[in-house]
């Protein structure tokens, strides 16, 4: 995020939001025009009433009811017209803000999905949801309440100043000078207020964090009997939030009351100057009173504008957070001029690939790997060896920092996403499921898949007996995040979801780690029969997969240290030999 001063930050942020969202600014001048016109027409009412009182009621002995009625009807007509015009201004504003912000919301959502932050920094996901919910809502609030006030207020100020200048230029100068002084003061106070609001936001984030932890960590809290400790933690965070909110409100109250003082002082000044100079310059009481009426007209919106400053602060903060997302360049972008993948089985190449998650911790430097088309490869290594990252580079979840990953001789960066996902399927360990049925989750891999295709995939993977014991078979709802299924079952669904794509390259990253051994072996054997001739890369925690592979890649601290068949590597006496001994010890029959 940029580090410009906070005061200009808000204005900068709000200006940026208008730039980023053309819908917001489309026709904004027409809207302002409507607001100004409405305010102008509305002024007819007090003027008419004043005239009626001065001419018809106070002036004559007998009131001319016809004349009063006529003027009254004019006022009512003006009032109705003002209603129509002002309503139109508000409606236009509402439409523009709701539409523009919905667009901004969707854009931010899409942009977030195209960044890697969602899966590399899983813990921040909850906070990122706020970008497309509460941050947008704070801008919406500002547009709908503050924006209206701003629109009408500015129109009123301009009208009042113009009218004043027409009445008495010298008095108008006094008022304008005062407004300028007050505005300078407001900007100064607003800076203090901005700091207070920043503190509130920090405190709000902290108490949200504390509440979020209490809610999502509830099972752990229950298991460890830490309810009271958690409650105290939440209470402390909420108290800290309350104190900073109250302090800010106190500051806001002072700010708002300064508007009242300003109004009083300016009225006193106009009376003073008017009375002292009026006697010599020939000003009538009527002129001065009309002028005072205009002063009142001017001061009212200034109070509203001060209030708007408050809302602008939190809207500005929301905008800044959204801009921080939108300003992060997309790492994985579709090529402008995509190359079509060749038909048939595909070979894989890593050409001088370097990669790191954090600058100070390089993972791969100059990695070269070639996997022949149609081979079954297992990737093994200890935690942190880079085996999982290898699969993410291969599937273009990440792009290399330098070097290229090629599929069928084409660099991944030159392949259209649709083309790539049709030919290559990747099953990560998590096995994330959506809150719908088993069938719909499988169909997520291939939206146009028929019921028959889904059943065929299940049969291919020899999972029929598993599906049969589900409460409602394929129509069983899986619950939120697949919570109604066990971890192993979730992985089975995720596997079927990739299988249904019928990919030419299958990449599995510990995709069956939570499935029981018997079922895992059975499923793997079923797949082996079917993927003959296709390229497959399996990142394996359990070495039984490696035993069955054509070739094994052994990673250690970001380097490819060994490769070969299972028998070759066991005999080699290196890293794999030790890993395999460990595995055999863990899985052998215990006599």
């Amino acid at each position: 995020m940029s580090s410009e001063p906070k005061g200009s930050g808000t204005i900068y942020a709000l200006r940026r939001v208008f730039q980023e969202t053309p819908t917001l600014r489309k026709g904004i001048f027409i809207t302002i025009g409507f607001a100004g016109l409405g305010t102008l027409i509305q002024l007819v009412v007090p003027v008419v009433i004043q005239t009626v009182i001065d001419q018809d009621l106070l002036g004559a002995d007998e009131v001319d009811v016809g004349s009063v009625l006529q003027k009254g009807l004019i006022a009512l007509g003006a009032m109705f017209l003002a209603f129509l015009v002002r309503r139109q201004a508000l409606v236009r504003l509402a439409r523009a803000s709701a539409t523009g912000l919905s667009e901004l919301r969707v854009r931010t959502f899409e942009h977030l999905h195209k960044l890697s932050i969602l899966h590399t920094e899983a813990e921040r996901r909850g906070a990122l949801v706020a970008r497309v919910t509460s941050d947008i809502a704070s801008i919406q609030d500002f547009m709908d309440w503050g924006g209206v006030g701003l629109l009408i207020g500015v129109a009123q100020v301009v009208l009042a100043v113009v009218a004043m200048a027409i009445y008495r230029f010298d008095l108008a100068l006094v008022v304008i000078a005062a407004v300028v002084v007050y505005t300078v003061m407001l900007v100064w106070i607003q800076r203090i207020l901005a700091r207070a609001h920043d503190k509130v936001r920090t405190r709000v984030a902290q108490s949200l964090g504390a509440m979020g932890e209490a809610i999502s960590g509830l099972p752990v809290i229950r298991a460890y009997g830490a309810e009271e400790e958690t409650r105290v933690k939440v209470a402390d965070a909420l108290d800290a939030q309350f104190r900073s909110e109250f302090r800010t409100a106190l500051l806001g109250a002072s700010l708002f009351s300064s508007a009242e003082m300003f109004a009083g002082l300016i009225t006193a000044a106009v009376i003073g100057v008017g009375v002292v100079t009026g006697a010599t310059s020939g000003m009538t009481a009527g002129t001065l009173l009309a002028f005072l009426f205009l002063v009142n007209l001017l001061v009212q919106p200034i109070q509203t504008l001060v209030e708007t400053l408050n809302q602008a602060q939190s809207a500005g903060a929301g905008v800044r957070r959204i801009l921080a997302i939108l300003d992060t360049p997309i790492e994985i972008d579709d090529p402008d001029d995509p190359v079509l993948l060749p038909a048939g089985t595909l070979r894989i190449e890593f050409d001088d690939v370097s990669f790191h998650y954090k600058e100070d911790a390089p993972l791969f430097t100059g990695l070269d790997v070639e996997i022949a088309a149609g081979t079954r490869v297992a990737v093994v290594g200890e935690t942190g060896s880079g085996k999982s990252t290898f699969s993410k580079l291969l599937t273009r979840i990440h792009d290399p920092i330098s070097g290229r990953v090629l599929l069928g001789g084409v660099s991944l960066t030159d392949i259209a996403t649709d083309d790539l996902r049709r030919r290559l399927a990747y099953v990560p360990q998590e096995g994330f499921l959506f809150d719908t049925t088993v069938a719909d989750n499988i169909r997520y891999g291939k939206p146009d898949a028929t019921e028959a295709e889904i059943c065929a995939a299940i049969t291919d993977l020899e999972l029929d007996s598993w599906v049969a014991q589900l409460p409602a078979g394929l129509s069983t709802p899986v619950g939120e995040r697949g919570g109604q299924l066990s971890a192993g079952e979730r992985q089975l669904v995720a596997l079927a979801r990739a299988w249904i794509v019928e990919p030419d390259v299958l990449v599995l990253d510990e995709a069956t780690s939570a499935v029981d051994p018997a079922l895992e072996v059975q499923t793997r054997r079923a797949m082996e029969q079917l993927i003959a001739g296709r390229t497959s890369v399996t990142v394996a925690h359990r070495l039984s997969t490696a035993e069955a592979a054509d070739e094994i890649l052994v990673f250690d601290q970001g380097e490819l240290v060994e490769r070969g068949s299972h028998d070759e590597l066991v005999a080699a006496g290196g890293v794999y030999t030790a890993m395999y001994a460990d595995w055999v010890k863990g899985t052998q029959k215990v006599e």
Partner: protein, 600 residues
């Protein structure tokens, strides 16, 4: 989505009840805010009187009558400033007190909500989405307390409304009747608007929940979505929900614009009507022109209270819509029942038993059925079974994360349900497949909910095989983990979670596949250390690897929610084919492969 229509009366009654509840909870600040509002309104009247006085005594005589201003100029200016000071002070009082009221009530409501949720059964919790619960605690509480911002102001300024009608009554009863009728119409229009808004607000709120739900789910599944190339689909799904929210918002905002501008227009119209009616009354000699001037002026003052009353009514609508969802959580009565047994500080392992235990989740059939089990103190027991056989559920029942539908689970003959709140974790420690880390230091995460010395924490970390990597973290045991902290690998997280259990020296330690992401040799070392340590625990582990199972004294083989066999690993391997099939799957696979290799 269906809009349930709530009647105007019930909206006002329930909205009023919410307001009364808040006002009662914080009477002091509520009264202060009302007083501040009343003082403010009085100041507005006073400023009008002062301006009138200055006009009559200073401006007109000086400018039109040519009199000297010497005597009155300074007093007049001072009077104007003094009234402004009064107004400013009243503003500070009203706003400060109202803010105190609003923010304090919000903090209290959030605290009470979390406290309440912490007491509810996990069965209830499992049915909720954590995102929704957080939204209830955050946005719904905020929306539910909206009413508190304008309420004191509304009450205080209503005095002006009453005062105006009374003053007009004194001047002329017929005009007062007319004013009363006109103002009644305005208030009725306001109420009608609030009522229609209420029903629309509800839809907006539920659409907001939908948008947030999709974002939560979609962000959680980000890797899967990217892997399957479905970003466009997700964006379209989100866009659809966002646009439905947009349309509803436009509908609400248009309605609001109509009422807002309409009511202000109506108020101007009332002034005009009163002046016309006043003209007729002058002719009949009932009132003087001066009275009409006063009435017109009084009516112009009503802009403030009418506008604020509108706000109050609309806020009642939106408050009720928000508070409804908060109240729904408060009203959940699925409290975990507790007894009064305290934890036993005995330093022997616990005797665990389950008799005729059955369990079913909300949807679907029985996961555990009529299960009987006894585990002797100090034993290490492995629970083995195929995918989805009920292993995790069984361990969760032992830790009393759930209660059985029938039957009972006890340790040392004491039913788990007879323990006092927070007492059971003094005896039982449970580590699940998913390790949840708190936004706290390593030490804070390990010594979670328990008083432990630094030495205890390090010892537990060593036992859990976590000490080595903790020492390599930027600030070792003081490194912050969790949402804003350092990211750890799955295996590292699991070891921290294990240390969290071990530091309590539990009499029953339950590990539900808790070391699945740890390398096999590391896992075996941890389990060996555990068994050989001085810790007087009964240990229950859910495991697959024969190396882990071999460390167990006995094995419980479970399938389809029933115990199929209970004995030593040897007995089960020899006598239970289903068991052998699972634990020896890899060995069999390797053997078969070797066979095939030779055959080829």
């Amino acid at each position: 989505m269906t809009t349930q229509h709530t009647s105007l009366k019930s909206m006002l009654r329930e909205g009023g009840a919410i307001a009364v509840r808040f006002a009662k909870a914080r009477t002091g600040s509520f009264v202060l805010a009302v007083v501040g509002a009343a003082l403010f309104v009085a100041a507005i009247v006073a400023s009008a009187i002062v301006i009138g006085w200055v006009t009559d005594e200073l401006i007109v005589p000086v400018l039109d009558g040519g009199e000297s201003y010497e005597d009155l100029l300074w007093p007049a200016m001072w009077a104007v400033v003094a009234v402004a000071l009064w107004k400013a002070a009243a503003v500070i009082l009203r706003r400060t007190a109202a803010s105190f009221l609003q923010f304090r009530v919000q903090a209290d409501a959030r605290h009470d909500l979390i406290e309440h949720m912490l007491k509810l059964e996990l069965a209830w919790y499992q049915r909720q989405s954590t995102g929704t619960l957080l939204a209830v605690s955050d946005t719904d509480v905020r929306q539910g307390t909206f009413i508190l911002a304008p309420l004191p102001y509304g009450i205080g300024s209503s005095l002006l409304l009453v005062g105006t009608v009374v003053l007009i009554l004194i001047l002329d009863p017929w005009l007062a009747l007319l004013a009363f009728f006109c103002l009644g119409v305005i208030v009725a229009v306001n109420m009608n608007g609030a009522w229609r808004m209420f029903n629309a607000f509800r839809d907006v709120q539920s659409l907001r929940g939908e948008v947030s739900g999709i974002a939560h789910e979609s962000f959680d599944g980000a890797l899967t979505i990217k892997a399957l190339g479905r970003i466009d689909f997700e964006t379209a799904r989100f866009q659809e929900a966002s646009e439905r929210l947009r349309d509803k918002l436009i509908y609400v905002l248009e309605m609001m614009a109509t009422y807002r501008v309409g009511v202000e227009g109506l108020l101007s119209a009332v002034t005009v009507i009163m002046v016309i009616a006043g003209a007729l009354r002058i002719n009949s000699g009932a009132v003087t022109p001066g009275d009409i001037v006063t009435i017109a002026y009084l009516l112009s003052l009503l802009f403030i209270p009418i506008r604020i009353i509108g706000f109050v009514l609309w806020s009642i609508a939106s408050s009720r819509a928000g508070w409804e969802r908060v109240q729904d959580v408060y009203d959940v009565r699925d409290l975990v029942p507790y007894g009064d047994l305290l934890a036993d500080s005995d330093d022997t392992g616990a005797h665990v038993s389950g008799s005729t235990v059955s369990f079913a989740y909300d949807e679907g059939g029985a996961v555990i059925e009529d299960l009987n089990l006894a585990i002797k103190p100090g034993r290490v027991v492995a629970i083995v079974g195929p995918t989805a056989s009920g292993k995790s559920t069984l361990t969760a029942l032992m830790a009393r994360l759930w209660d059985p539908s029938t039957g009972s689970v006890s340790i040392d003959g004491r039913d788990l349900r007879s323990f006092a709140r927070s007492a059971l974790p003094g005896e039982v420690a449970y580590v699940s497949q998913e390790s949840f880390l708190f936004d706290d230091t390593v030490t804070g995460n390990i010594a979670f909910g328990v008083l432990a010395s630094e030495g205890d924490v390090v010892a537990a970390a060593k036992l859990a095989g976590a000490h080595e990597f903790i020492q390599e973290l930027p600030e070792e045991y003081d490194t912050t983990l969790g949402e804003r902290g350092t990211s750890l690998s799955g295996g590292q997280r699991q070891r921290i979670a294990l240390a969290r259990a071990l530091v309590r020296k539990p009499r029953l330690l339950i590990l539900d596949d808790a070391t699945s992401a740890v390398d096999p040799s590391v896992e075996a070392r941890i389990l060996e250390r555990l068994r050989d340590s001085e810790m007087p625990s009964t240990i229950v582990i859910v495991a697959y690897r024969t190396s882990s199972i071999a460390l167990a004294d006995e094995v419980v083989f479970i399938d389809d929610g029933k115990i199929v066999a209970h004995g030593t690993h040897h007995e089960l391997t020899a006598g239970v084919p289903g068991y052998a099939r699972i634990v020896e799957a890899y060995a069999e696979d390797a053997a078969e492969r070797a066979e095939e290799g030779r055959g080829a």
